[in-house]
Symmetry: C3
Subunit: 325 residues, 3 copies
């Protein structure tokens, strides 16, 4: 084989497997779409290799969140009209219900990316020292942030495509035609609702900007990119860009809600509209972050992180042992 | 120049060219938009370097497929109405015809990614051994899968953007307005067609999910990503995700077709609608895959790939020689 | 911590910081979403590290361009109707004005990627030698091209999403309904405007293709990808693909303009429509490039770049010193 793209000689591949470090450049040369078992040496025991260990927990979390949000939306948007007015809106499941599940899960995951950092900061403030390790669950959570963030971006991107395809659908076309018919029947010359227009222009714009920032964050998490960044650039990306994205996405959700907060008709079966539940977690995260940015707390945290310790005996260890039980 | 982004000293660059391995980190530092000839040392004889050797064949294949599908769609969607009803639909060429060509080519390329693996498996089953190399054309085909897959994703992404821009176009707006006018004239209160609505909601949703999986596959084929994957993760990505994407895209095409299969009006000039031809190849691939997953065949293939050989004398060599003639 | 994704031991990280070369593989393993200060060793003095030095100038340039184009569009599309007809179109700011600012800035940045190369070529032709360094500002400009190109792509992608969301907006829906109402009132059976239809089908299609090419260029600028390319492939990408993208985007802008050139109603307050100003720079760049491709100039440039020098004494140095003052 002349093609550098597929290392044929299986000893190459075994060598590669036995000693990755020596052949760093071989690995990417493998075909990346469709690889059959017989294409790699028998010495490879796939069963013994880990399968995305860092992704198990984040994916489980995502699956659970998606299931819950799906059921909640299905119950409110499809089941309720069917039961109460026996109106069959089941056609909403593939796109409309999906597209409430996706953003809800996405923004929740994004909030879960920034929550552990805040908890750690609070813990440090409480302990008054940085020289005591964090409880195990917090460690594990922190090690999951990259995966959570990438999943959040993936779902957000899907949410964008789903939203963009709305006007393309037959259902939307038929609705438009019927609205036009009604407008003519009611001889209503102008159907413009300034309030509605403003709401949508703003939340769509916010959503697109939020997606743009998330895309930058996702790109910066590519090994070859983060390789080229230094620590300060790296931290700046996550801190500044990350929180900016969270702010934009939360604003996107809140403006989407507009004044549904107070309109009773949105509380079908006494359940709040999904955007309220969706924006609770990110709003809390942003609030706590804002509190931590208060000069007094910020200064103290800075001292602690520069190695300063509070006079009282460091009880970090004990705390950790207790916590990690 | 202090900027690390553009290595000025040309000896650096010559060194880099003479010995890539020693300076793995220099290369990415070059500007990546617009590079003029005088910016690299005279020792570089561009003419002697290969220009994307692994991409020639896949790109040719793509070009041929696109030309054929374009002509077929042009003939059916533009020429036929012009000839038979002298209706001039030439405005359809830039977007509507393009957007039948793109998905058709994309799904065909995607099917061609998975076909060679199946052929190889069938060959192994037939030979009853894995200790005999594959015919040359199959080797070459297998080494092309990554390129085919990436091209399929690229065209699928373009197809998505083209589809999303449908309702934005003037042509769609004018059609909508005329439909609204007719609906009023015919005093038809509701133009809802449940069947049509369901069809579109489902195939759009399937398409978006398929695109999402293809995006994951494409990302996993970035050198720096596939570098970080181990063999099992790598294989799982291509096998599971890859076939899942193919299933979703094929379903996308079939649901798009819905029941046009049986509606004679879609067989203009006795030619079948394009989605039928488009889904033939992927459907066949999935069918063969399903057959190979039958317990009996699957077990036998497993044995062979663990090194088992069928009792009859290994005729692999002969076969290969014959095949590769 | 078993997870390879987060190096816990801080000495690892310090080692990594002190000697990046030795641990090339550690860096990408860090979490890439949300990194708190206490997560890296105290030996890291963030303040001493540079923060995206190569991006400062391009970002400033982008900010200035966006501000100017935003003001210009705001003045023409929002202020003018408000002042002259006291029509309040402020709802246009979040999306419609934004989406004139984005493409304008994007295409200007893209043109600025290719301009310095042309200036350098002209300078070489004028000096008749390649053995004299370029003025400092040109050097600096050339070292910015990658950043300029990536920013252009980022803004172009945002522009695409903004455009795709047009028909989704309430404002568009209400406009459609009102148009439908008017069409019925005027009893106008067909509102089809062939000219308008053609214009939109063509410029949308051109825009999508341009975006596709820009995406390929952006991907090819990922370190791990450009790593795998040889010089010829690299140059081909930027030259051929890059200029093809610029041609497509300029055509996209010109077809968008269609015949607004000559329609006085588009010259509100005696200002030309933005697409004219937007396409001036890229059109100039393409024109100069076309001139440089004329056989006579192209041959001479080729000679110079192969080391040929014009008979007159090389005055490069002097020139540079003068220029770089």
């Amino acid at each position: 084989m002349t093609s550098p793209l597929l290392p044929k000689a299986s000893e190459d591949q075994e060598a590669l497997l036995l000693n990755r470090a020596k052949h760093p450049k071989h690995r990417p040369l493998l075909v990346s779409f469709a690889l059959e078992e017989f294409e790699f040496p028998s010495s490879v025991c796939l069963e013994e290799m880990p399968l995305f260990p860092q992704w198990h927990l984040p994916l489980k979390l995502m699956a659970i969140l998606m299931a819950l949000t799906f059921l909640y939306t299905f119950m409110r948007d499809v089941l309720q009209p069917f039961v109460s007015q026996s109106r069959s809106d089941f056609y909403k499941i593939p796109i409309l219900v999906m597209n409430k599940t996706l953003p809800w899960t996405a923004i929740s995951l994004l909030a879960l990316v920034y929550l552990p950092g805040l908890l750690a900061a609070l813990l440090q403030l409480h302990r008054g020292t940085k020289y005591s390790s964090f409880p195990g669950w917090l460690e594990r959570w922190m090690s999951m942030r990259k995966q959570l963030g990438l999943l959040a971006f993936f779902l957000a991107a899907l949410h964008a495509i789903y939203s963009l395809c709305y006007p393309m659908r037959r259902s939307y076309r038929y609705k438009l035609l019927n609205w036009a018919y009604q407008q003519v029947q009611q001889n209503q010359e102008d159907s413009w609702v300034a309030d509605d227009v403003w709401r949508m222009e703003i939340y769509v714009s916010l959503g697109i900007m939020g997606l743009g920032l998330l895309a930058l964050l996702a790109i910066s998490s590519l090994p070859s990119i983060s390789d080229a960044l230094n620590w300060r650039e790296f931290t700046w990306m996550q801190r500044t860009l990350g929180y900016a994205a969270l702010v934009l996405c939360t604003a996107h959700a809140l403006v989407y809600g507009w004044r549904k907060w107070v309109e009773p008709k949105h509380y079908v079966w006494y359940t709040p509209p999904s955007f309220i539940l969706a924006s609770l977690l990110p709003a809390t995260v942003l609030l706590v972050k804002a509190v931590l940015l208060l000069p007094c707390l910020d200064r103290r945290l800075g001292q602690i992180r520069r190695g300063w310790e509070s006079p009282r005996p460091p009880r970090g260890r004990g705390v950790t042992e207790k916590d990690s039980l």
